[in-house]
C-alpha cells in the first residue's frame, strides 16, 4: 500500500503523462518533496518561492481540503488519495 497522488492535466508533462502516481505516506510537504525528487521541477509548480501552497492549487486528502486542516503538515496515510486540483475559473 502507498498513497495515490492524482496529477492534474497541466502537470503531467512532469510525470511522463501519468495521471496518478504512488508515493510513500507522509505529510503533504514530504509528498511534494518525493515528487520533486522523482520529477525535478514539480515542487515549483505547486509551491511558491516562500514554500507555501500556490494560491491557484487546491490539495485534498481524500475529501478534505488541507487548507482547512494542517495545510502542508497534513498527513496522508496508507491507502489515502491526494488530489491536486488547479483552480478552474475564467470570465
Amino acid at each position: 500500500m502507498s498513497v495515490a497522488v492524482r496529477i492534474p492535466t497541466v502537470f503531467r508533462k512532469y510525470t511522463q503523462g501519468e495521471s496518478q502516481v504512488r508515493v510513500d505516506p507522509g505529510t503533504i510537504g514530504e509528498l511534494i518533496g518525493q515528487l520533486e525528487h522523482r520529477y525535478p521541477g514539480f515542487r515549483g509548480q505547486v509551491l511558491t518561492d516562500d514554500g507555501s501552497l500556490h494560491r491557484f492549487i487546491n490539495v485534498y486528502v481524500n475529501d478534505e481540503d488541507i487548507r482547512y486542516i494542517q495545510k502542508l503538515d497534513t498527513e496522508a496515510s496508507e491507502g489515502d488519495t491526494v488530489s491536486l486540483l488547479p483552480s478552474v475559473a475564467g470570465g
Binding site: 492535466t9 486540483l85 488547479p86 483552480s87 478552474v88 475564467g90 470570465g91
Partner: protein
Amino acid sequence: MSDEFRISSDLAEEMVQHCKEGRPNEACGMLGAKAGETVKVFRMANAARSPVRYSLEPSEQLSVYNALDEQGWDLGGVFHSHTHTEAYPSPTDVRLASEDVPYVIVSLATEPAEIRAFRIIKSEWGAEDGEILEIPVTILG
C-alpha cells in the same frame, strides 16, 4: 493531445441547456471523455455567481474527478458560457486557464448558441499570458 473536440448533438444540447438555465449568470461545467469523444456533461455550479465570471467549487471539481476515475474516463474539457459576447476566450479566460484540456465556450449571444473550443497554451501553468489555439468542434449526429 487531441486536436479536435468531438461531442454528440444530444450532449451538446445538454451543455447549451445548462448554460441557458444559468442566465443571467455565466454557467460552467466539465466534460468526461473516452477515446477522444465526449461521453458526459457534468453540470456544475458557478461559484462566482456572476454574468461575467465563473469559477468551479473545488469540492464539486473533486467529485467530478472521482466520477471520471470511477468510470475510467478522461477529463475531456472545461466549458462555460458567454451570455452576451462571442464564443472566444476573454482576457480573463486566458489569464486563469489552468487545465491542459480543451476550453469549450458556449455563446448565448446568438440563437442557436455557438460552440467553439480552444486550447490555451502557456509557458508555465500559472502564467498570465497564453496563446489561444482554436480547435475544430465536431458535433456528431
